[in-house]
Subunit: 396 residues, 2 copies
Amino acid sequence: MSWIDDPAFSPDEPFGPQTLPYGVLDTPDGPVVAVRVGDHALPLRALAGEFSAELAPLVAAGSLDPLLAAGRPAWSALRARLRELVSQSAAPPGAELLALSAVTTRLPFTVGDYVDFYSSRHHAENVGRMFRPDAEPLLPNWTHLPVGYHGRSGTVVVSGTDVVRPHGQRRGEHGPVFGPSTRLDIEAEVGFVCGGPVAGRVSTSSAPDHVFGVVVLNDWSARDIQAWEYVPLGPFLGKSFATSISAWVTPLEAFAAARVEVPDPGHPRLDYLVEDQHWGLDLTMEVRWNGTTVSRPPFAGMAFSCAQQLAHMTVNGATVRPGDLFGSGTVSGPEKRQRGSFLELSWGGAEPVVLDDGSTRTFLEDGDTVVITATAPGPDGSVVGLSEVVGTVVGG
Amino acid sequence: MSWIDDPAFSPDEPFGPQTLPYGVLDTPDGPVVAVRVGDHALPLRALAGEFSAELAPLVAAGSLDPLLAAGRPAWSALRARLRELVSQSAAPPGAELLALSAVTTRLPFTVGDYVDFYSSRHHAENVGRMFRPDAEPLLPNWTHLPVGYHGRSGTVVVSGTDVVRPHGQRRGEHGPVFGPSTRLDIEAEVGFVCGGPVAGRVSTSSAPDHVFGVVVLNDWSARDIQAWEYVPLGPFLGKSFATSISAWVTPLEAFAAARVEVPDPGHPRLDYLVEDQHWGLDLTMEVRWNGTTVSRPPFAGMAFSCAQQLAHMTVNGATVRPGDLFGSGTVSGPEKRQRGSFLELSWGGAEPVVLDDGSTRTFLEDGDTVVITATAPGPDGSVVGLSEVVGTVVGG
């Protein structure tokens, strides 16, 4: 029987000892690293004496940056020690459990480069049909490589941060017009937080040593700005105003029971994209719009795994650094209620979404709140939860 | 008569007191901030006592990061004091001039977000003709907004760093093939280094308070990788392996005499892109391929100024931070010998470039060295030099 008195902290619940995500709290004494246990946060600085000399500075830090840099052996050792500490019957000296509702979380690490992939076939096909109605929805390169692009790392924000409606140019009848976006959207994604030594040309087999953990990511998108600007160099201001991530980063190790094979692309893969172990993840996401569950995107069908994405991102010699972040791409399944963006759920605005309160929506209105969560199978029949990413739209 | 005994340090030379760019040297005592005077570097930490209490920590630092964050008033005060110090007849105590040939420079600041624009009409038209031969070369959005995209900040490197030929996928007869890039290219650009307070929605009139200085930038590009990957989300691995910048950052203030109006787009501009002062710059660039000058791209004809680019980049509410870097886009003029990429100079490889040694080139071969420099009109008939960006290709 653990000393932790939290009904949500049991192996039957998504945030039990099988999960143990890391975050950073704002406190009167400055930012502190914490671990989530059930619906509580356990600050770790006060417990630094419980850890080895190698690990103590990582938990006493004011961000996850030193932990991200420390690498896989330290990650494993820290997680193992934390599981001991939270499972023992007596509280370690100095331990203080803070209700999540009473803490303020902050962006837990310094974001290096942010890359956004596009690895859901259903999403790519849906968007292709809407943005390029006269062409094949899937372009010839799509099955051969994880299409991706760089986003803006300086506007990655933590869950809970309001999203100000962006202004920009959109196509008008007589040339572009300027104003607040009229087609503000979400993209439900899974984000991967990089760590370990700086490295280039990371193979699929070594990629997991460079992925510290997993977050839920909302790649807020202004479709009207994006549609006008995106040729030929890709999305820019339609995306760069905000990207939200969970406050809690769940270690990759927590997903051992969730690993699945990615779908066969229908042709041989180039060698550098072949996996000797499976790194697809059987996550189920949930998108709630003002409290109504509007979609449950399945992650297991994504065409490329995080290991393949990282191998691709570095195959040209580009380095990956601790704090680099990459998104999976919007997660959409084959069914309508599995689509990961409102663009797709409302089919470009043509089919409004009805919320539980009877109101209808196509794109986001000021005051709307979107919550995205995810769960995965954990060890021994348990469930591993990914902490929510939430944001409310405010007028710009 | 200045105490500085360097023939290149006179107002008739490009690196006289009208220029005074900042860089960072690697020394046995760690990195130190320095200013370039002629063909020498003057380390500033030893002179910290010559500066006010506000400025001293900026010059005693190990990178330009504190200086970039300090903002326009500090930038002006530091530059004014430096002009006094380098112009006086007696050397300040502790001053030591180091020959540039004897110092090692390093990346002088921490790169935040890196954005690359596409604001040369001639370049965009040339590339459009080659990449999309069946369509109008200039897309409808191009004259209305500075088209741009985010690049990889983690692979921005300082001048002198070797460039390893990237591997990647390219289009083959029966699907993609993988290997070293066969169409490795340069892009001659001007880079703008951001500073001042973190800000969003920067107007064209306040943009100069967020631009600390100017570098020459080489956006190395693997055209075969780029051509296969870039639809629909833009360039990714074809660019992200390396972007080189000058070791010395020339303050924006040095370009007061170089400011010109950007060309009329042929239609009214949206309000946020109107300039109340001109921030086009009359720079002339020079591209040398293994010692042969193959191009002299004119910067004055660029369709958008740095102020317009920064206003656009933040008009959606995205913040700009000290250390953010943006490139102008490849600078190409109307004449063949004014093109800023080898793709254009060799017209996709169809028209080889002849070097002074009689050899011919289309794209870069291993061992090739490219040097890009630029000059601008300075005050009172002087010339302001931008320090070279140089890189040598090595086999990957």
